[in-house]
Structures are given as C-alpha cells and as structure tokens.
Assembly symmetry: C2
Homo-oligomer: 221 residues x 2
C-alpha cells in the first residue's frame, strides 16, 4: 500500500462510542481489509503504514457488543470512513489524473481475485492506457493472466464503465467509441470476470502519467 | 518478461552443430533461464514469448554428447548469445535512457533472490530514481523487503556501481556524490545483499521515463 512521497501513511480515527477494545479491533481489521488494503498507487509497498482507532466512550452509550444494536451502525461508519480516506490517497497519487476501480469477479479464491485485481491496477502498461483513455482489453486480460490467478479464458469478460469490451474470450466489436468515452472519465470502473469461480475483490488505483515520473525522478534536483 | 509494444518476443537461434535435440533443449533451457528470463521492462509479462533453437548438423562434427569436448563450448556460446539478445531487449525498452543490472546476493533461496531482484527492477519508484540518477537506497531496500523474500535488515547492504551506500542496515554517509555519478551512467550496476543465505540472482531492467508514458498512453491518438 502506498503513501505518496513520504513513504508512510498514518491514519488516526477517533470515536466517542463506548466499545471494548477487542471488538473495535475486529471492526477496524475488517474495515481496513475493505479500504486501505485495496489501494495501490504504484505497487511499491510503504515501510510503515498504520491505521489507529481510539474510542473515548464519551458518548455514554451502553457499551457496544457483538450483537447489540449499535454494532452494525458503528462498523458501517468505520468502513465508510476508511474507504473514503483510502480513496483520497489514490486520488492524491503522484501525478494521478484519473482513478480506477477494478472489480474482479469469478475468481477461484479470494486470494486469486485479489491477485488479479492488483495485477491490473499495478500494470504500468494498463495504467498508461488509462492515462491515454484507451479501453485496452489486451493489457487488462494479460495482466489478469500473468497474475498467477486461475482463469478460464473462454469464459473471461471485461466491462469498462458498463460497456462490455471483451466477452467469452473474444473482443467485442463496434464498442470502441463508447468504451473510450468511459475510459476518459475522472473515475473509471473496470470489471473483469475470470470465469473460474465465485470470489471477487475490488482494488482502487490511478493512472501513470508523465507527472508521476517527473515527481519521482526529479525530486532530488 | 517483456517484449516492448508488440507484446510478443520471438527469438530464433540457429547453429550448424550436430547435437541431439534433447541435449540441445537442456542447453537452451539453461541459457534462457540466465538471459531472457532475467529481464524486465515493466513487469507486464507478454502473452506469447518464444525462444527456438535449430541445429542443422551442417558442421559435420561428431555429434555433441553431454561430456564431449564441444559441449561446454556450445553451451557457453548459446548462453552468451541469449544474454546479448536479452540485454538488447532491455536497452530497447520503451523510453529507456539507462539500463540496470540488479544482483541480489545472500538470498535464503534462489526463488527469494529472484523475487527480490525483480521487485527492485520492477519498482516504478526505483525506476524513476534511476531515471533521475539518484542512488535512492530507501526505494531499493523497501522493494527488496516487500518482495516477500527473507531478509535480515541488520546485515543488508546496497552497492551502486561499486560504491557502498547502505551497510549493516544503515545508510553510509558522505558517498552521495560518488554514488550519484555511478547512477547517472548509461548502465548502472546495483548489488543488494539480503543477509539471509547464499543464493544469488541477476536481473536486468531499465529506467522509467516520461517517454515510456508517452509511448504507452498516446499510441492510440
């Protein structure tokens, strides 16, 4: 996971809810797995990322337990907050001009879906295609393929911004203009079906621009 | 392994030596593992790479056997040729202005050494530092660390063009100018010791430049 430039991401979350520490930790772990651990700017993992949550109990509520009414409300609020913060990191990626949400479905396992989603979101070739606004299915499919995740090419499918550009292992003709429009939006959604199972994973990333290179090559001069 | 642009690398090698097919195949596999499989331009594996070797036997030599005099000479020639061709691919990488040779030593296993070497050679952050000519040990060490390979930070070491910039887990002071000179050469050698064993691996890569982004983002317009 990437925190641009300073190679460090520190997140401090506070709540006035009364809740036991072990339960809050379970809640936070789930929220982080669905947010901060779903983002990438360049695949270069930072050395010291941290997400902390502190509960003061000042709300004077009946302490939240696993099945108490407040549990799902707080869990949802924590998840929403973490997603919002994580997405802001991607949006703020060095030189990012566009963000992407890569949803991989049909993975044989959750780990497979995760691997494929990050391979796409981290591929320098696809990140350049995103920068150029081109719905390059070849770069998406080949990244999913080399990720090591199980894939059934004959059942694979790629959808960009709701436009199916690759289906049953074949490119779809006549959709280049519509798909190109979708690829040139500020936020682009990409769905890939691996045709290998039921698992899914969502990763967030950004494009690779000249500005990324400038920031990370010329910082010293 | 990357073949720039066309997403395909096809290598055809011919020899007039008389040699049995199974033995030539063993020879080629070793040569490829030390050459074509050691290079990366952007980590985006191509879908259809191929290396073929054909032996006509026109040299009329006594057919080469495992222990015959011609064996090591032909094996060495094949290895040299494959290295030369593989290095040319890296040099010809999209927008490459500098090449790098990353030697990882002290790996717990060969696979660990390989993982660490490719993590460094593929890190967009380090590739940008190479482009900018900055001996950024933090980007090297963190890439080796996130590769998943076993590492003993207290024994780790980084050498750029013969200049030790990081040793026993600490940056070396007063070498920035000398190391910077080395980083601005056309071909930069980087040595990393993982302090975790005896295995080593050499990977070849290139820098990440604005021109890489231009070529891979604007090909469509």
């Amino acid at each position: 996971m990437i925190a641009p430039n300073m190679a460090t991401m520190l997140a401090f979350i506070t709540t006035d809810a009364a809740i036991d520490q072990p339960l809050l930790e379970v809640m936070l772990k789930k929220a982080v797995s669905l947010s901060f651990n779903c983002i990438t700017v360049d695949g270069h993992t930072s050395t010291n990322d941290m997400v902390l949550v502190m509960a003061s109990g000042a709300a004077d509520n009946t302490p939240i337990k696993q099945n108490s009414p407040g549990f799902s409300a707080l869990a949802q609020a924590l998840e929403d907050l973490c997603r919002d913060l994580a997405f802001q990191i991607v949006k703020d990626g060095e030189g990012a001009t566009r963000t992407m949400e890569v949803t991989v479905r049909g993975g044989a396992t959750l780990d497979d879906a995760r691997k494929a989603a990050f391979a796409i979101a981290n591929s320098p070739l696809f990140k350049c295609a995103l920068h150029g606004g081109d719905p390059n299915w070849g770069r998406i499919i080949s990244a999913a393929g080399y990720s090591g995740a199980a894939m059934n090419p004959a059942k694979s499918r790629v959808v960009v911004g709701g436009v199916v550009i690759f289906d049953m292992g074949q490119p779809v003709r006549g959709v280049a203009d519509k798909a190109g429009e979708q690829m040139r939006k500020d936020h682009v959604t990409i769905e890939v079906n691996m045709g290998a199972g039921q698992a899914s994973f969502v990763a967030w990333g950004c494009d690779l621009s000249n500005e990324y290179v400038r920031i990370n090559a010329e910082y010293h001069t």
